[in-house]
């Protein structure tokens, strides 16, 4: 398969950028949006793995280079797994609970892209109650 022009090379670059997107991401400094997903035993048993994969698929589809999805350990809110912590640069972290199915897409569109935290699924990170 011969590359016949500079334009074709650039197209090939686009097509293959997914393969290395994760790595450029990891090495960058600066403002990245981080989506942390609790993947401890309670998380996994509640389907956090599917949640994580959903987020990754959406990000790859929209080619959002500034968003990182990172699996983390137990966030502590085991009663509302799967839990997802969204860190937007410069803002307080927002913790979502029971994030399954359609909720992933809603959070993606309305909070991560739209900038509006979705109150109805937000868990209050309160130290007064367990």
């Amino acid at each position: 398969m011969t590359i016949k022009s500079l334009d074709e090379l650039r197209k090939l670059r686009e097509e293959n950028s997914d393969r290395v997107r994760l790595r450029e991401l990891g090495d960058g400094t600066g403002d990245r949006v981080e989506i942390l997903i609790g993947m401890a035993t309670c998380g996994i048993s509640s389907g956090a793995r599917d949640t994580l994969n959903e987020f990754v698929d959406l990000i790859m589809k929209e080619k959002m280079d500034h968003v990182k999805v990172i699996p983390v350990g137990c966030i502590g809110y085991c009663h509302s797994e799967p839990t997802v912590l969204v860190n937007m640069p410069g803002k307080k972290p927002v913790l979502y609970g029971n994030v399954k199915g359609k909720i992933v897409k809603e959070i993606m569109e309305k909070h991560i892209i739209g900038g509006q935290p979705q109150e109805k699924w937000v868990l209050n990170m309160d130290f007064e109650r367990a």
Partner: protein, 548 residues
């Protein structure tokens, strides 16, 4: 199908491979498959991260977690704890030696903070055996831009303005060398990559070839276009089997995509590369000896002029450049000559890769902007001297270089300031010595090497190095007198001034340098020395003073 959500980068440079990193890679793959995560997690073999002291290195992306000293048995824990459950494996994180705190991110480590990776930019980031990953990070774009949008003179202007100088040690301006070769009128020209890295302890070129071979191929093609050559040769030492394998794979892949061969990217520029293997001769790193070896002759240097740019391979104009020099070319074309010349000092632009070795905590490969001081490299990046010992000297330039003592620690590193203090940049080996090292032994070690490697063509080289070595042996076995030390001094200057090529011209440098800075250590070995104050009872016949 789900997309990959994690990439596990496993360092597979020769250093880490020698510590079983390939087994780590295999175990990671096996366990990921067994746990059913093959569609989501990818394990990638990559090039040298530089932190060789702490190898094997495993880096998890996009988490940006850096694991050190990973053994094959650790693979299970990394997968089960970190990949599946998101819990970092604390005991595999890097422990900073002074505060003893664990650091998980590369950019927070003192080893990496002052580094600027240009030549090594893709090492640790891509799989060197996959041309598509190289292309995904902008690979071959520089070649495309050069041959379709820039004229040959424009390419040369860019390299000239960038200030790039030969990284093999000579420091000759690369743009100028390309221009001189271009100006020669000849239908046939060649461009050669000198991958014969012979300095003991140097592995900069090896790491670039193992970790990012395409960057060298691309740069050779750009150089070929600029000077008017359609054939490139990579002269690589046979002692680098992994680099040879990776280069062969890279050349094959580039040819398949039409990035090497006829009518590249639809233009009328054709270029191809072949490999020539060395056979264990240090002298073949010298460009005329290298060319003789390529022609099938014994590797002996020729008198210069004529320079290879005028008359080289089979008599045709030939441009010989070092691996690291090539590794900088694509960045200059894509990011611009102004960006490159903004890094470094007045006369030495860009970065330099050093192989830090010897009595230092963080042994490995570092790339730093020119102008950084020795103190910063040895103490900030290198982590200082192990076991709390005192720093004594640092040697640059391999067997051709001199030593730098405590007083020279704040010298900024660039071609000219190193020459001014009696050393040289060389290809990038940097050996650190502590209070327990004997400098006479160090000089003897280097001279044994150069004596063995002297090709024999010229008298001063053939006989001079041997006699110097014999005297050094006599000194260290306490059988020498002041007359011998005097003879050593005379010989050193004689060999330096009258040898045919750079190998023996610079072979006496360790001797001259240690005689100047560590005179007392020589006297310690001599029976009839005065009480260490001077020339002793023997009155020197020659008036040779140690030149500064």
């Amino acid at each position: 199908m789900t997309e990959m959500r994690t990439n596990i980068m496993v360092c597979c440079g020769t250093g880490c491979v020698a510590s079983e990193s390939e087994k780590v890679f295999k175990n990671l793959e096996i366990i990921i498959k067994a746990r059913g995560y093959s569609d989501e997690v990818q394990v990638v073999k990559t090039g040298c991260f530089g932190f060789c002291e702490q190898g094997p290195i495993v880096k998890i992306e996009p988490d940006n977690v850096f694991y050190v000293r990973v053994g094959p048995k650790d693979a299970k824990e990394i997968i089960d704890e970190h990949i599946i459950k998101g819990r970092k494996v604390e005991r595999l994180l890097y422990t900073e030696p002074i505060e003893k705190e664990r650091i998980e991110k590369q950019e927070d480590m003192p080893f990496y903070k002052k580094q600027l990776r240009v030549a090594l930019k893709n090492c640790g980031l891509i799989n060197p055996e996959d041309v598509y990953e190289y292309i995904a990070l902008g690979g071959y774009e520089a070649l495309g831009v050069s041959i379709t949008e820039l004229s040959r003179d424009q390419v040369i202007e860019k390299i000239k303005k960038s200030g790039l100088r030969g990284r093999g040690g000579g420091g000759f301006p690369t743009g100028l060398k390309w221009e001189i070769t271009k100006r020669q009128e000849s239908e046939v020209k060649f461009i050669i990559c000198n991958a014969d890295e012979g300095d003991p302890g140097a592995f900069m070129d090896r790491s670039i070839l193992e970790g990012d071979p395409h960057s060298v191929l691309e740069a050779m093609a750009i150089g070929g276009y600029a000077i008017g050559a359609d054939k490139g040769i990579i002269y690589i030492r046979a002692e680098y089997p992994l680099a040879i394998t990776r280069l062969n794979i890279a050349i094959k892949q580039a040819r398949e995509l039409g990035l090497l061969g006829k009518n590249i990217l639809g233009t009328d520029f054709s270029f191809d590369i072949s490999l020539k293997y060395g056979a264990g001769a240090f002298v073949c790193g010298e460009e005329t000896a290298l060319i003789n070896s390529c022609e099938g002759k014994r590797g002996e240097p020729n008198y210069k002029p004529p320079y290879p740019a005028e008359e080289g391979y089979w008599g045709y104009p030939t441009c010989v450049n070092n691996v690291e020099t090539f590794a900088n070319i694509s960045s200059i074309i894509l990011k611009g000559e102004d960006w490159f010349s903004s890094i470094g000092t007045q006369k030495s632009k860009g970065t330099k890769v050093f192989a830090l070795a010897g009595k230092i905590n963080n042994v490995g490969l570092v790339e730093v902007p020119m102008g950084i001081t020795f103190r910063e490299i040895i103490f900030d990046i290198g982590g200082g001297i192990p076991k709390g010992k005192k720093f004594k000297a640092v040697q640059t330039g391999g067997p051709s270089g001199g030593v730098i003592t405590e007083e020279g620690l704040d010298t900024p590193i660039d071609y000219d300031s190193l020459l001014a203090i009696g050393s040289m940049m060389g290809s990038g080996g940097m050996i650190v010595m502590d209070e327990d090292d004997n400098m006479v032994n160090i000089a003897k070690f280097y001279l044994e090497f150069t004596m063995d490697e002297a090709c024999g063509r010229c008298g001063p080289g053939r006989i001079g190095t041997k006699r110097m070595f014999e005297i050094l042996c006599k000194i260290t076995s306490r059988k020498a007198t002041m007359a011998d030390v005097d003879a050593l001094k005379q010989l050193a200057y004689m060999v330096k001034d009258s040898s045919l090529c750079g190998l023996c011209q610079t072979a006496p440098n360790p001797v001259i340098s240690t005689l100047k800075h560590f005179w007392n250590e020589y006297l310690d070995f001599i029976e009839d020395a005065d009480d260490g104050k001077g020339e002793g009872k023997y009155k020197s016949k020659s008036n040779i003073k140690i030149k500064s």
